[in-house]
Symmetry: C2
Subunit: 237 residues, 2 copies
DNA sequence: CGAATAATTGAGGCCTATCAAACCGCGTGG
DNA sequence: CCACGCGGTTTGATAGGCCTCAATTATTCG
């Protein structure tokens, strides 16, 4: 678990510089605000924990993870962000975590000062933060109280749209309750998100495979044979 | 760990009804908004997970914990709130966690709809959420990656003002680096906050006592003999 | 003072981490 | 075409940290 090399690989460093930057006066949520649209390659770092937090980002397309590091290299992925979410908002002068792309992404970068002066955007930020806060609560429950099996099952269920929540009404088709999903995270990243080791994540996935709940088409493509069967393992029921 | 009885004890039920309610037209953060000032006794529940989320609260005085339950009774305390913090803001129609007082408290209750229409308050909500989100990130790191000893040490350090953070400059007096703190949480509550069991929390505290890092004046009053010595155990250094 | 509640301590077991090795997919180049 | 190497994944053996269950001690409060 050596994630300490901030300058180790050239690839990340290159992709830190956004590949496409165009000033644009408008935009959907930041109407009337200048925002720079940026593109970043997969596995590139947008900012590091401790960097000067002078910009706020909105994820337009792709997936991003936020993570924190301990001095000895232990890593915790604190958030997985989907399009529409805001990130890079800091309470103090510096970012409290690093942001790394899991896929190629498009983001809109806003000037921090401008955001603070815009009511429209403030409201948007609030809405995002509230939703993200609830996800964090859910994740704290996962990290603090769930078993390895429950964590992995919860993680997979998160990627089945409209299922596993409060309002889940079960499979719409009693016979066919399957779903196909793309992970877009390595085992190590999943482990660091779920507070486990890579070996444990792998073992749990193998176990689910053995039980016939899932099938692996590729390492990063999982086919859930029975969504309800998977949901049974989340600890929610 | 049976926390499932929502109607079990009469005491909580009685104290759900605030003991003092006064309509007031003004207030500090909610200028121009009606807010009800409420008082709640220690160990009373302000709202339950799943309740209709039609009100937003600001903690004026005292300490409150937010927690979530799993169907089998497992509990995770997701936040500990100090005065000035906002709580009860939901993304959907219902609260995602329960709010229980750890001490006698004073809170201001706002109508949810009113908050959404007020820019001043929106900004205040944003600021609070950002700060709370950073705390959640820190807590996710604790829950996912820290040992029992590191969790308890981090928990205790959190209550030593101005120490243990990025900007900690060490003890101001080289000789005398002690601090006195009040827990205001039972061992069970601490355990549910740190993702541990009550026995483990107790054992770690005994261990710190044996090492001479802390001293227990009472069960809920801890005297830290050497703050820097305690900080060594947090995993941050 | 004694009952009730909370905290501590002990013994044992389980779940997950750790260490190590084998495996797999995939691009490279002989 | 296939050996080769590389990164990521899987599997195995073992150990250890924390949980569980149980008993004891301390604290609170009528």
């Amino acid at each position: 678990m050596a994630y300490l090399d901030r300058t180790g690989d050239g690839i990340s460093q290159i992709s830190v510089a956004p590949s496409a930057v165009d000033q644009r006066p408008g935009g959907e949520p930041g109407r009337g605000l200048r925002s720079r649209s940026q593109r970043h390659a997969q596995h590139s770092i947008i900012f590091y924990e401790g960097d000067q937090a002078d910009r706020v980002f909105e994820l337009d397309d792709g997936i991003i993870m936020l993570y924190k590091l301990l001095p000895d290299g232990r890593r915790q992925v604190v958030e997985i962000l989907n399009p529409g979410m805001i990130f890079g908002i800091a309470a103090g002068a510096r970012y409290d975590c690093s942001a790394e792309t899991l896929t190629p992404v498009r983001v809109s970068a806003f000037d921090r000062k401008e955001i603070e002066g815009c009511n429209t955007l403030q409201r948007h930020v609030s809405r995002c933060l509230i939703s993200q806060m609830e996800k964090m609560h859910e994740h704290a429950m996962l990290l603090g109280r769930k078993s390895a099996m429950e964590r992995v099952a919860s993680y997979l269920m998160r990627m089945v749209p409209g299922r596993g929540g409060e309002d889940c009404i079960g499979p719409r088709d009693a016979e066919c309750d399957d779903h196909d999903l793309a992970l877009s995270m390595t085992r190590q990243e999943i482990a660091d998100y779920l507070g486990l080791t890579i070996e444990t994540v792998s073992r749990v996935i193998s176990d689910l495979k053995r039980r016939g709940v899932i099938r692996l088409d590729r390492q990063d493509r999982i086919h859930v044979n029975r969504v309800c069967g998977l949901c049974k393992f989340t600890g929610i029921h």
